[in-house]
Symmetry: D2
Subunit: 91 residues, 4 copies
């Protein structure tokens, strides 16, 4: 089971809300709404995705990484986590 | 007409693709896929939104800001653009 | 003259302050300060750099881009601006 | 000892290099260099700071968080880590 099993409902609820925001943006573009207002909504979706990412990371450390550390074999999991954060930051 | 009128089809095509990516992420969570893989897809959607933002900004400068500059009354438009970029960068 | 000529003093003052923050971080590392506190300061420097970037962009649009638009030859300047913002967003 | 003790030399070397980049930017502004080129360098410093942040996070998870998990008392450390990442992402 993935780390986010416990918070799966919360992650899904956020993703559904983000999908709604995204459809709202498509509607704004259909209605020729002002660029700056569209841009502001695009920024809001990005921020909402950051909050989903933080939730996923938290669950991952609490479960998958913690299990690996307890079993004494965490090197690979920590490396994988670090690479995922780097990729997420585009670093 | 907003600045992105010309590129509206391109903006809409990207937004539809992003909506598809987002539904793919919801499916991954439903299927208990590995956290790190879900996180990677969330990062991909964020990057795709950045590219939509750049397209919106480009069209906005090419049209709305350029019109304001030509009409000799661009101060407000430049201030608004700057604030929108700052908000987008969460700066 | 570059667009930021007028705000050069403000840009330089911010850059000097950021250099001070960065030296503060080096001192924190020398003193073995807690990782999370160091990380928080690194985030603060990033946010300060975003505010410098917004100031540079504002001046650039107000001057270089506006001049190009007034002279009727702005295509290259808008393309260059768009590419710079895309690069800055790593988009 | 903080988690980055082992990698302290690497963190310090990166911070010194970033300080050099930052002084280079100040020199560019003194010399009235083109806004877009200054902006590109500001973006490069931000990306370098992201890489320092990833290094700090990796060391923190490998040491402080791992120790807390092994001692069976990791809840507070994971919460603190999650909040630090959220703050860093401005999420």
């Amino acid at each position: 089971m993935p780390g986010y099993a416990k918070d799966r409902a919360a992650v899904q609820a956020r993703l559904r809300r983000i999908e709604g925001q995204l459809r709202g943006i498509q509607k704004m573009v259909d209605e020729d709404r002002y660029c700056i207002d569209v841009l502001t909504q695009v920024g809001a979706v990005k921020a909402a995705l950051d909050r989903v990412a933080v939730l996923l990371l938290q669950d991952h450390v609490e479960h998958c990484v913690a299990d690996a550390i307890r079993s004494g074999d965490s090197e690979e999991k920590v490396r994988e986590l670090t690479e995922a954060v780097a990729r997420f930051l585009q670093a």
